[in-house]
């Protein structure tokens, strides 16, 4: 059994050895300059938290398999044979000790892609049965639902109808609607589970007169967390097929870092010519509206000191760095930057699926300390994050470190600044739901509910989601 797992792992490693991965395995000079680039190391300055040390675990095995000197004199280069214990260590490193934030790469004099190595380890861990069960379960559930969405569609449409009533109250427009499966719409908006990612965007789209339709699928993609391309592709496939069948011009992804990353930067490589539409984050669309003067915004509506947390997937790995700031400058008079920010921003500590692992709570509270310290230093009372994952983590950090901050999405601030007729009641309710996740709780439950057909209404409590999985 042990031999089989090791064979699987080594075969998979060999299959993955392309130019970028080989360069990442070979180029490290072990200068250690990457140490402070990692939020784990900043929180706890231990050797094991240095990105180079983490990657060395894989390199040792790579050398024992592919390097002449290491085969002859393994102790000279520190080469090690792969064992089952090492496989378990790889899984721990890849899933618990690295959030794939890319900050070490930005800071490496070689430009070494350690997240690529960690993704490779995740793939190996998944293939050998060492991946976190929660992530596998969530990925498989999403794939299963995608096979026959008709089963859930009726209930989903009912939930949307309820939400339309709230939209009409919010916008003061009795004809306001949330279009579903609208053929030929320009934009296909792919939300996360929960009305809080649909209602504010629907209000914005309604106000600017956007030609849009709501996806029947959720944006989250747990396959990418597993490093499992086949699962991730199957999950993305649902949205690609929907976009193709509706003939939309673009897919707009909700405020979700990894969902944007997958659809914008990874999926085009899976689907090639099928990608006849462009993919943008809702943050980019909002910035466009602001710059085009399509939204009338009152910055005094958001009077508390506000700061912005750059999600790694959107910012450092996606280049969405200027857009959120364009929007924030328009919706508040008291915007304060965290230091450092943009491509140098610290990860919140809950990325790459960590926030969905109940057993990782203490770990991510530790890893999120640099972020908590940044927020405290900024003096902000509200932290905006354009990523659901980050918002969950920031809410937990606030509770854990007693930050006393509100955590909100960018779209919520925009809606508030729009001063819509039903603003006072509805938007404050949405923001209450956004911040309801503060404190210790089971985020896997929140993530597990990420199924549009089990949408909790804004009238319900998002901290107690219902799932029909």
């Amino acid at each position: 059994m042990t031999t089989t797992k090791i064979d699987i792992a080594l075969n998979l490693l060999n299959q993955q050895l392309n130019q970028p991965l080989t360069a990442a395995l070979e180029v490290c000079a072990r200068c250690g300059i990457c140490a402070e680039a990692c939020h784990y190391y900043v929180a706890e300055p231990k050797v094991e938290h240095i990105p180079a040390a983490r990657a060395e675990s894989l390199r040792k095995v790579y050398r024992s398999e592919h390097d002449l000197l290491s085969r002859l004199f393994p102790s000279w280069t520190g080469a090690e044979r792969l064992t089952e214990e090492k496989l378990a260590e790889w899984a721990d490193i890849a899933f618990n000790k690295c959030t794939l934030c890319y900050r070490c790469t930005i800071n490496c004099p070689m430009g070494l892609d350690t997240p690529l190595l960690m993704t490779s380890l995740r793939a190996i861990a998944t293939a050998t049965g060492n991946a976190p069960e929660v992530l596998e379960m969530l990925a498989d559930a999403a794939i299963e639902k995608g096979k026959d969405p008709e089963i859930y569609l009726g209930f989903y449409k009912e939930s949307i109808k309820d939400m339309e009533v709230e939209l009409q109250e919010l916008t003061g427009n009795p004809d306001a609607s949330i279009p579903l499966q609208k053929q030929g719409a320009k934009k296909l908006y792919v939300a996360l589970a929960g009305a809080h990612t649909i209602l504010p965007v629907a209000a914005i789209f309604e106000t600017v007169g956007e030609d849009w339709t709501l996806s029947i699928f959720e944006a989250a993609n747990y396959g990418i967390f597993l490093g499992d391309a086949s699962r991730a592709k199957a999950i993305a496939r649902r949205i690609v097929d929907e976009a193709k069948s509706l003939g939309v011009e673009e897919i707009v992804i909700s405020e979700c870092g990894h969902a944007y990353y997958v659809m914008r930067w990874v999926a085009p490589n899976w689907f090639g010519d099928e990608f006849t539409f462009r993919v943008r984050s809702i943050v980019e669309v909002l910035a466009e509206y602001v710059q085009d003067g399509k939204l009338k915004l009152d910055p005094s509506a958001n009077s508390e000191p506000i700061t912005y947390h750059d999600s790694c997937n959107l910012g450092r790995k996606g280049g969405i760095l200027a857009e959120p700031r364009v929007v924030l400058q328009a919706v508040t008079n008291d915007f304060r930057e965290l230091t450092p920010n943009r491509e140098e921003a610290y990860c919140c500590g809950g990325g790459a699926g960590l926030v969905a692992l109940p057993e990782a709570y203490d770990l991510r509270m530790m890893a999120g300390k640099p972020k908590a310290d940044q927020v405290k230093r900024s003096g902000a009372q509200v932290v905006v994050a354009a990523c659901e994952n980050c918002r969950l983590q920031l809410g937990d950090l606030s509770g854990y470190y007693g930050l006393g901050i509100g955590v909100t999405a960018l779209t919520d601030l925009v809606v508030k600044a729009m001063r819509l007729p039903g603003n006072q009641k509805t938007v404050e309710h949405i923001m209450t739901l956004e911040t309801a996740n503060s404190g210790e709780h089971d985020n896997a439950e929140v993530w597990g509910s990420t199924d549009l057909v089990s949408l909790p209404s804004t009238k319900g409590d998002r901290s107690e989601p219902k799932s029909n999985v």
């Binding site: 050895l17 300059i33 402070e36 680039a37 050797v47 004099p109 790995k317 280049g319």
Partner: protein, 212 residues
């Protein structure tokens, strides 16, 4: 056959071995798949690559090199010394007639490189993180390259040290493709992939970060 001639033959053979071994490694590397990014760029890929090879390597361009400016500059100067040292080694058969004052100038530069390399060697022993990360190969690589530069500087100051210089050079050249020194051939690729990543996604350089 004199020691001098023998050492020249030895270093020549070592050089051929190194070129062949690196060439083979690069040939194998070139045969590996290079994934084509089919995602439509948000920024300018070429700007990213240019940045990765130029300003992106400036000590002020990233937090890590700002925090470790001295160590980084030590490393950069050491590597500049290595490349100059290799060029001098290759040109050495034709440098015999060079005026001594030119040899002295080059000698000081190379000696500085050697000193910085040996300082790096000592740092690996003394700094907690570096020591924990290092294996025997790491120590030996920096030591052999430092000794190569030291021997070259000695030869530049004292031409009679030619045999020693060539023997140390031959040892360094033979070891280069086998041990950690070979990271040099992957450096350009790693920076290229990094540059493509940050360029196509408009992460860096900062001039690309535009909401439009």
């Amino acid at each position: 056959m004199s020691f001098s001639l023998l050492s020249q033959i030895l270093v020549f053979l070592a050089l051929i071995f190194t070129v062949f071994a690196f060439g083979r490694k690069l040939k194998i590397y070139a045969q590996l798949a290079r994934p084509v990014d089919r995602a439509k760029p948000k920024g300018d890929l070429q700007k990213g690559v240019l940045y990765a090879y130029t300003l992106g390597m400036a000590p002020w361009s990233k937090e890590s090199t700002r925090l470790h400016a001295l160590a980084y500059l030590r490393g950069v100067a050491f590597h500049v010394g290595i490349f100059l040292g290799l060029a001098i080694l290759v040109a050495s058969p034709w440098l015999g007639e060079m005026p001594q004052y030119v040899r002295n100038i080059l000698g000081f530069v190379i000696a500085a490189g050697a000193l910085l390399g040996l300082l790096g060697f000592v740092a690996r022993f003394l700094e907690h993180n570096l020591k924990a990360l290092s294996n025997a190969d790491d120590y030996f690589a920096v030591l052999i390259v430092g000794l190569f530069l030291a021997a070259e500087a000695l030869w530049l100051f004292f031409p009679a040290a030619r045999v020693l210089f060539y023997l140390v050079s031959a040892a360094m050249l033979v070891y280069a493709p086998l041990g950690k020194i070979r990271h040099c051939i992957y450096f350009a690729y790693s920076r290229l992939f990094y540059g493509r990543f940050i360029g196509s996604r408009a992460v860096l350089p900062h001039s690309q970060q535009n909401a439009r």
